[in-house]
Structures are given as C-alpha cells and as structure tokens.
C-alpha cells in the first residue's frame, strides 16, 4: 500500500511551519494564566561543599516577592528514590532540588524565589546571600581518570562492552602496522533555542495543566505524580511545540519540580523559565578520554581493535552512554577488546546529547582509522571499504541492512574524492592549504513501544493522535504524511494531535526512534481503520467488496476500493452512512519485533566527506564543503530528513572546531556559560553541505522501513573535519575542539 508513495517520501513542508513563523505556535514559557506567579532560581556558586546559611532577608523585603524556598523550608516530596526516577533515569540517586545543604555541582539550585513578576523574582534571587563551607572540587577528567570505575549497574545492557573476542593485545603486538593514541573530548553543552520552562495552571480539585519544555509529556507527568504523589488523571502535561532539545529535555529538570512545588504550596498558577546560563549546568555531553589502538596487515585488513573509554559522571548518578562499542562492530575484526569506565567529578550529571556516545566514540575511532590508513599507506576510504562487515560481531547477529557501500560510493563521487592527493599539505587554493578528509558514521536504529489513534470522519477528515513530541524534527509532518498516504487524502485534510500526556501512550522522543515507533503506530491504526471500514462495507447489501480481504483493498479518492481495480468499491461516506457512523476510529500499539531482534541488529550508517581550507599564517580553519551520504532506510520526508542531517553536520563542525565547556578547575565552575563565550558555528562558518540519502530497503528495522535520522547526521563529522585538517596541515590534533592555538603549536608529521 505504501509503495504508492505519493506523499510519503516527498519534501512536504512542515505542517506546523506557518504556526511557527507567525508566532502562533506557543512554547512552554509563552502561556499565561490569570494571577500567575513567577519563579527564579538562585544558583550555587561553589562546586562542592555545604550550605552553612542562606540569608534571604533582603530578598524577602523586595516588593512583589511572595515566598522564598530553600532546603530549610521546602515542602515535602517523595522519600524514595524510585519515586524520583523518570522513564530515562540513571543508576544512582536522582537529583532532588533544595533537598539538603549539600552542593554537588556549580549552578545547583540553592534557593527558589516566587514573586508577582519575573523581574521581582530575578532581582530577589540576586539579593540572596549564601554562606558555604566549600570543599576542593575535582572537575578535571584528565587528572582524575585514574579514579575510573566500571559502572556497577548498567543503564542499558547494550552500553556494556561486548565480551572480548580473539586476543587483541597479542594480535596488536604481532601486526606490521599499528597506531595507538589518546583522544580527549571536552564537555559540550546543549544550547537549543528554547530554554527550559514550565507554566503550571492550578485548577480546581487539585488538577494541574502543565506546559513543559520536555521530550516526553507522559514522562514529565509521571515524574510529577511520583514526586508529589498526585493522581495521574488529574495532571496533564503539554509540549505542543519544542524549540529544540537534542536529548537535554529527555529527563525532567528542576524547573518542573520547582514550578509544581510552588503551585501546589501556594495554590497558584506558576511559571518558571530558566536563564541561558542555567542551561549549561544540565545534561551535558560528558568530557571523555579515550585510547584507541588499531592494527592492520600490509593490505590494511584490521588485525586488532582496542578501545578504552572513560567519561565523566556526577557524584550522585552513573550516567552512561555507548561510547566505545561501535569500535567492535563498525569494521570486520576478530581481535577486539573494549572497555568502558566512568569517573565521578564534582559536576552536574551529564546527559544525552545528539548521538550520545557515538558522537564521542566514533570521533576517536574514525580519527584512528585515518591514522591507520596513513600508517599502512592506503586511501582512508579504501581502508574502510576493505574492512566492511555485514554482521554485528559484538552481538554475533546479522544486520538488517547496511547500504554503507552505496554511501561510500555516492558520497565519494559527489565529493570528487578520486582527485584527492594522498600526501598531507599537497593541495592548495591560493594561500590556503586544502584538506580532504572522510569518516564513517553509525547509529543504532531503534524502535520502542508506542501507541497511536487514527480517526477518519465521514467527510474525509483524518485526525491522528499520540502523546509523541515534535522537538523540531518534523514529527507533526511525517505523521500527517503517513496518514494521508493510507487515506489517499491531501495532507491538509489531516490533523495531527500530539504533545499532550492524555493521548495514546508514547515514550520520550529521543534516540532517533520516534519516526519508527509512532510512525508505525499511526500506520497500523490507519490500516485498522481501513479494516473496520471494510467490515462495515461488507455489511451493506450487495457490497462490491463482499469477498475482499483487508490486503486487497485500499482507499482511493474517498472510496474504499479493490487495489487491483479501483472501479470496484464504495464511497467512504456511504459506508459510514450505512453503518450510522460519523467517523471510524482505531487505536494501535506497536513495538519492536522481539523475535527479529534476537537474530538481527539494526543500524543506520553514513559516510562523511569534508573539505577544509586553512589560512596557514593565521591557523584559521574553514569547512568549505561537506558531503554526507546516509543510509537510514526509508526516507519519509525528503525536506525534513535533509534538515536533520544538515543540523547534525553543523553540530559536528561545532564539535570539531568550537564547542568546549571551560571549567576553572580551581573552583570547579564553568566559565563560559553563555553563547558569547561558548561558541557554536555562526551562519558564516557554514558553507556547502550536500546530503545524499542512498537507497536502502529495510522491513526489519521497523514496520514502516525507517531507521531514524536525528543522530546519524552528527556521527563521524568531527573525525572527518579532524582528518581533513590533518590532510591539509600534516598536523594530527587529538583533543577537540581543534582551535587555532592547537594548530599553530603542533608539529606537522614528516
């Protein structure tokens, strides 16, 4: 049915686009309630220690201040950790705002002001004086890496290293070609456009309606209900529009807790919006130290892969992401040893940030592959082609699909890779050194459990509903397209109702699984509607579809018809009229195919080609061209899909060249907690980015054949940029970001 593909796959503009560009789309902080109060958080100015005293007198005297909360007067909340654990919580103890006098990280909330205006709340927060007994913080991963440990409780089973295979150390020692190096990545900080915010409407009978900036309205609802002991039927969380989140809004943050706490305590509606600065203290990509050792024979076939990764976590939780396991499955190798450890530092708990783990681990692996190509003396693309593997050796499973050869081929052709001169420093454009580098990318193609409801009205209008979130990725649009496809209607005949906790159950939007999950649920529910319609049609007298099975019919131009002969059928309006119905509605539930998952692993893949031009006198790097060739199964919307990859590439360029949380390790405080000092690429830094989606059929990864696109765009980009810089300059820089000082200070290899 879906192979007709009139709508699915085509570059449909976002159906929520007009609302967004006209300002009609309201975000969490843009909702107002009569008589509402406003909250502002006072932040800790030490990274470790205890609060001795909090002087709130001056703040309380400020006009408009209603109440100031500290750990000394915070209303009671749940006692057990289990009540504080949200759907994506980590092993360890979840952070509890204003719980006690303990300071665990710079920027921790230490007081919360509620006032009649946001200005009064903010000013009052500035008048609060906190006296601390500060302790010496440890925030330097390189200095503390010897204190690393294996996580005692796994966040997810697939984050644990696979068992070693072969004898990696012996194979490494015996191989004729080898490289081994340390790669250091700084902490990176999320900076989506939209700040964390919650607007809580306090209603009669203890009902709350909360507008929250979250990647999962049901997750926020369940968290609030768990922490405050509320009835889930009395709490609705909405996230109609989310201004970017990238994983930061997977877990509920303290703004939500504080807003609900004050609302319940004061019986008033409340709003809390974080400052840009506060965004730097929450769910960041952890600083990470990796050692990657690769060995190959004279033809470049991998003989040994060793990857050891250590990254930061907080004192109170064991944040984990899959950093190193990619090295065991990206290429064919029979001698593999992977290890993964954490180090506790006096910093806020890290969190998922676009392609968590892969962005870091593949950056190291793919730089090491480039180094190995130089060592063996073959083209870096050819090295990868030779080590291609169509099996997940980590799990000893088949791969559902892997059109990576097509990525290599089409990407290289579009980029013009064949014209690359292999010697570093051998390509120039005027005064600029030119470098061409490439890298591979990989991400798990996941699907979770999810539900959706589809309603077809007699007038042909379709409503799709699920508690899914559109975090800027285009979820509204692709769900509309999938429904329009089944019902053969224009997309503007479809209303997509998502972003609300009292809609059919959906997990958080993250991990690139929403299209596969909610998309499949929508398709299943739409097909269920067609099946129900067929039943009603067959109840009609002399039905032309009397003998038809559900596989034999489809909807065409407002009629239920035989797929093989559109002349045979009945108008939907007539079917519903005969059945005495205004509409047909069905709900469907989908989930990963457990049997298939036992035998198969599913991944999306990419090949990224990068050109840099470097002004050697100044050390300035410009990324002048990027070609990203992606194999991610079926592409539902060519336009929003391309946008996902563009965004991933830009973020990868930022990772390579700019992004770095700078900590004053004497105080443990983040120094560049603003967008003036924490650099991401500006528009003028971004030149040509070409996105290719290679053909890939995959009915195992998900029922609708998609693998997800949110993460794959960033994976490998930093390595490709780094490899291009090496090709341009002969300088191998293994600690990101590759800033000018590092380029000027390092020596070119001979």
């Amino acid at each position: 049915m879906l192979d007709r593909s009139k709508i699915v796959g085509s570059p449909v503009s976002r159906i929520d686009g007009p609302l967004k560009v006209t300002g009609a789309a309201k975000y969490a902080a843009e909702h107002f309630e009569p008589g509402m109060l406003f909250g502002h958080v006072a932040l800790a100015t030490i990274a470790a220690g205890r609060i001795l005293a909090i002087d709130t007198r001056a703040a309380e005297r400020l006009q408009g201040v209603v109440k100031i909360y500290t750990h000394e007067n915070r209303p009671k909340a749940a006692y057990r950790d289990s009540k504080w654990k949200d759907a994506v919580a980590l092993p360890g103890h979840p952070f509890r705002p204003l719980e006690n006098d303990r300071v665990l990280f710079d920027g921790q909330p230490v007081a919360f002001v509620v006032a009649e205006t946001p200005e009064a709340a903010r000013d009052a927060a500035g008048l609060i004086h906190v006296h601390y007994a500060a302790e010496t913080p440890n925030t330097h991963i390189v200095a503390e890496q010897h204190n690393s440990y294996e996580p005692p409780v796994a966040r997810m089973k697939q984050f644990l290293p696979p068992p070693p295979r072969g004898d990696a150390e012996a194979a490494f020692a015996a191989a004729p070609h080898k490289v081994s190096a340390d790669y250091v990545l700084p902490g990176e900080h999320h900076n989506p456009m939209e700040l964390f915010a919650a607007t809580v409407r306090f209603e009669d009978e203890g009902r709350l309606t909360i507008q929250d900036k979250t990647q999962g309205s049901q997750n926020s609802r369940d968290y609030v209900c768990g922490v405050f002991g509320l009835d889930p039927d009395k709490v609705i969380v909405k996230n109609d529009f989310v201004g970017g989140a990238f994983g930061q809004a997977l877990r509920p943050k303290h703004h939500l807790f504080l807003a609900v706490m004050a609302s319940l305590d004061l019986s008033r509606s409340m709003k809390v919006e974080m400052t840009r600065r506060e965004m730097f203290y929450l769910s960041w990509r952890p600083s990470c130290v990796q050692t990657v050792s690769l060995a190959a024979d004279d033809e470049g076939y991998l003989q040994a892969v060793l990857h050891h990764a250590v990254h930061t976590t907080s004192r109170h939780e064991d944040y984990q992401e899959n950093v190193a396991n990619w090295s065991g499955l990206a290429y064919k190798c029979d001698n593999v040893k992977i290890s993964y450890e954490l180090v506790k530092l006096d910093l806020a708990t890290p969190g998922d940030m676009r392609a968590p783990g892969a962005a870091s681990g593949v950056a190291a692996l793919e730089t090491a592959m480039d180094e190995l190509a130089c060592e063996v003396g073959i083209d870096p693309l050819e090295l990868r082609v030779r080590n291609f593997v169509h099996r997940d050796q980590n799990q000893d499973k088949a791969i559902t699909s892997k059109a990576l050869h097509a990525c290599y081929r089409e990407g290289a052709e579009r980029f013009g890779w064949v014209a690359r001169s292999p010697t570093p420093r051998s390509m120039r454009d005027g005064n600029d050194l030119v470098g061409w580098g490439m890298a591979g990318g990989i991400w798990e193609a996941m699907m979770s459990k999810g539900e959706a409801k589809v309603r077809l009205s007699a007038d042909g209008h379709v409503t799709v509903s699920a508690a899914a979130s559109d975090i800027g990725t285009g979820t509204y649009t692709i769900l509309g397209q999938l429904a329009a496809e089944v019902f053969d209607c224009p997309i503007d005949a479809v209303t997509v109702d998502i972003g609300r906790s009292n809609l059919p159950k959906t997990g958080v939007e993250g991990g690139s699984w929403t299209a596969a999950t909610t998309g499949s649920a929508v398709q299943a529910a739409a097909k269920a509607v067609v099946k129900t319609l067929l039943g009603h049609a067959q109840s009609m007298e002399n039905s032309p579809l009397a003998e038809a099975s559900e596989e034999q019919v489809e909807i065409s131009e407002g009629r239920l018809v035989l797929e093989a002969n559109h002349q045979v059928g009945t108008a939907i309006a007539d079917i519903m009229a005969a059945a005495g119905l205004d509409a047909v509605e069905e709900q469907a539930k989908v989930g990963p195919d457990i049997l298939s998952m036992r035998r198969y692993a599913a991944y999306s893949h990419s090949a990224v080609f990068v050109e840099v031009k470097i002004d050697e006198e100044l050390g300035v790097v410009r990324v002048t061209r990027v070609v990203s060739a992606v194999a991610a199964g079926r592409i539902l919307n060519a336009k929003t899909a391309r946008s996902q990859i563009l965004g991933g590439v830009v973020m990868g360029i930022g990772m390579a060249l700019h992004e770095e949380g700078l900590i004053d390790h004497r105080t443990g405080r983040i120094m560049n907690h603003n967008l003036a000092e924490y650099h991401v690429p500006a528009h003028a830094d971004i030149h040509d980015i070409d996105v290719i989606f290679v053909e890939e059929q995959d009915q195992r990864a998900s029922p609708i054949g998609v693998k997800g696109l949110g993460e794959i765009g960033i994976v490998g980009v930093a390595a490709a940029v780094s490899n291009a810089i090496f090709h341009a300059t002969g300088k191998r820089i293994r600690n990101l970001p590759i800033t000018i000082d590092k380029i000027l200070e390092s020596e070119a290899v001979q």
């Binding site: 100044l618 300035v620 700019h658 500006a682 003028a684 830094d685 000018i740």
Partner: protein, 286 residues
C-alpha cells in the same frame, strides 16, 4: 532608575550634566543593555538620544561626512557615498555583532564603550576621524584616538556627549581597509585587528599613511612608525615585511582565552600586510 528621551541635544547635555547619580547615554544599547542585564552597571538615569533628529543623520558636505551619534552601523553600509569614500570605516562598522546588532549599534557607542577590540575604532583612527563633542562648556572637536584611554574608560569630561563623527572629504588616490581576526567567521570579538588608510601620488607612491591596530594594547594603537614605512613605497613586498615587523613590535597585547601575546603580535603583522594591500588597491582605483 529614570529613563528620559530628550528631543534636543541641548536637553540631553543638560540632563547629563545635571544628573544626580550615575547617568548613561543610550543609543543602540548593544553594550549598555547587555551590561545592565549582566548586573555590571546600574545607572540612575538613562538618556536615550535616538529621538534627537540631528543625531540620526549622515550629512555629506564640502568638508566630508558628519555621522550623527545615533546612526546605526547598518545605515553606514547603505550610504553609497560614504561606502565609496571610506570603505574601511564602513567595513569596521559592519563587522560589529550580527546583522540584528548592526541595526541598532552605533560607531559612537562603539567608541565610547572603549573596548580595545572595538571593530569600528581602528578604521576611524586610521581615517583620522574626529569627534564633535558637546558639553556644558560648549563644543570641541578632538581626534577619535584621544577618546578611549583604557578598557571601558574615556577622556570625555562629565556631562560631555559625542554629537557626531567627522570624516574628511576624500582626496584622490586614497583608500582604506579594515580586517580583524576572529576564530569564528562572525559573531565574535576581534583577537587582533588592523586598519590602514593611504593616499597615493599620481605615480602610485604612498604619500600619506595611517596604520591602526585594535585589541593589541589597552587602547587602539596608532602606529606611526608603521605608517612611516609605507610612505614613499608602492607597498611592495619589502615594505610589507617591514610593516608587519613594525606592527608586531608595536603591540602590547594581553594573554587571554582568545589568543596569546605571541599570537596576537604575529597576527597584527599579518593583518597589517593584508589591509595595507587592500587599501593600496582601493587607492589606486580612485
């Protein structure tokens, strides 16, 4: 805090002179409001000069250009005569912040903010621009390089306000240019910057030169010894090398996150060479 929006310069000067407590002038606000928001300053009186008509205009007269203190930098770029006469000055003004910021910010604000890294100041200094200053004691005209005296500090007396920037009428065979170095291509603060303004004779030999460096010392530097190297030359390779050396030697920069002393000295020389060549090409075309 009081916010006042006078409609005449006299009123603005009077308000400023008679203000009790700390007074601040608001034009584009791209520095003032940011500093207020950050809690660095809390003025008692804010005098918004955008309603004073005379300050919002660029006037071209027989002597050159008069750029009002409230003219946004973006407007400089839309003035064809100014752009043709003083392309380096306009280049500097149009590198400040983003397009949105340029729609608000002013070169006078940039000057009075007195940042050593101010983008519009080196080109103004190289251009020999003067500031028309109005104060309780009357008007005076002073060279722009005498206004900033250190980071965040100016030589303006209490109650004084800059009314306009004056740029000379352009002579034949003249050209100027400005470049800055930033790690990011835009939305960044100059690590080092350089401006050169040249006037050639009919044979293409430099007759007059002014060289200014930004972010290389507590204030924008006018490097006379570098200018002397260019005078009498055709901006050949030898002159450029000596220019670079002179500029590197003149720098008194600091080490910070954006660059080291050594790096800033090197970049000052590289940029000076590049802008001197551009200025020379521009001068030759007129």
């Amino acid at each position: 805090m009081r916010y006042i929006r006078p409609s005449s310069l006299e009123d603005a000067v009077g308000l400023l002179a008679n203000a009790s407590g700390k007074a601040a002038i608001l034009a584009g606000g791209s520095d003032l409001l940011v500093r207020m928001k950050g809690g660095f300053i809390e003025p008692d009186v804010i005098i918004d000069i955008k309603a004073i008509d005379a300050l919002g205009r660029i006037i071209e007269n027989d002597d050159g250009f008069v750029i009002g203190a409230a003219v946004p930098c973006a407007v400089l770029g839309e003035n064809t005569a100014l752009r043709n006469a003083w392309p380096g000055v306009v280049e500097g003004a149009r590198l400040i912040g983003s397009k949105q910021v340029q729609g608000r910010c002013t070169i006078v604000g940039n000057l009075c903010n007195a940042s050593p890294a101010a983008d519009s100041v080196p080109a103004l200094v190289a251009a020999g621009a003067r500031a028309l200053v109005r104060g309780p004691a009357g008007s005076r005209t002073i060279a722009v390089e005498t206004i900033p005296v250190g980071p965040g500090k100016t030589s303006l007396a209490p109650g004084e306000i800059i009314e306009a920037i004056l740029l000379d009428k352009r002579q034949r065979h003249s050209g100027d240019a400005y470049q800055r170095f930033t790690p990011r291509t835009e939305m960044d603060i100059a690590v080092v910057s350089a401006a050169v303004n040249l006037t050639l004779n009919d044979q293409g030999v430099v007759e007059k030169a002014r060289v200014a460096l930004g972010a290389a010392a507590p204030t924008v530097l006018l490097v006379e010894e570098a200018a002397d190297i260019l005078v009498g030359s055709r901006v050949d390779d030898g002159a450029l090398e000596r220019l670079a050396e002179a500029c590197s030697a003149a720098c008194r920069p600091i080490d910070d996150k954006r660059g080291t002393v050594e790096f800033r000295k090197k970049v000052a020389g590289v940029l000076a060479k590049r802008v001197a060549l551009t200025a020379y090409q521009r001068a030759g075309q007129k």
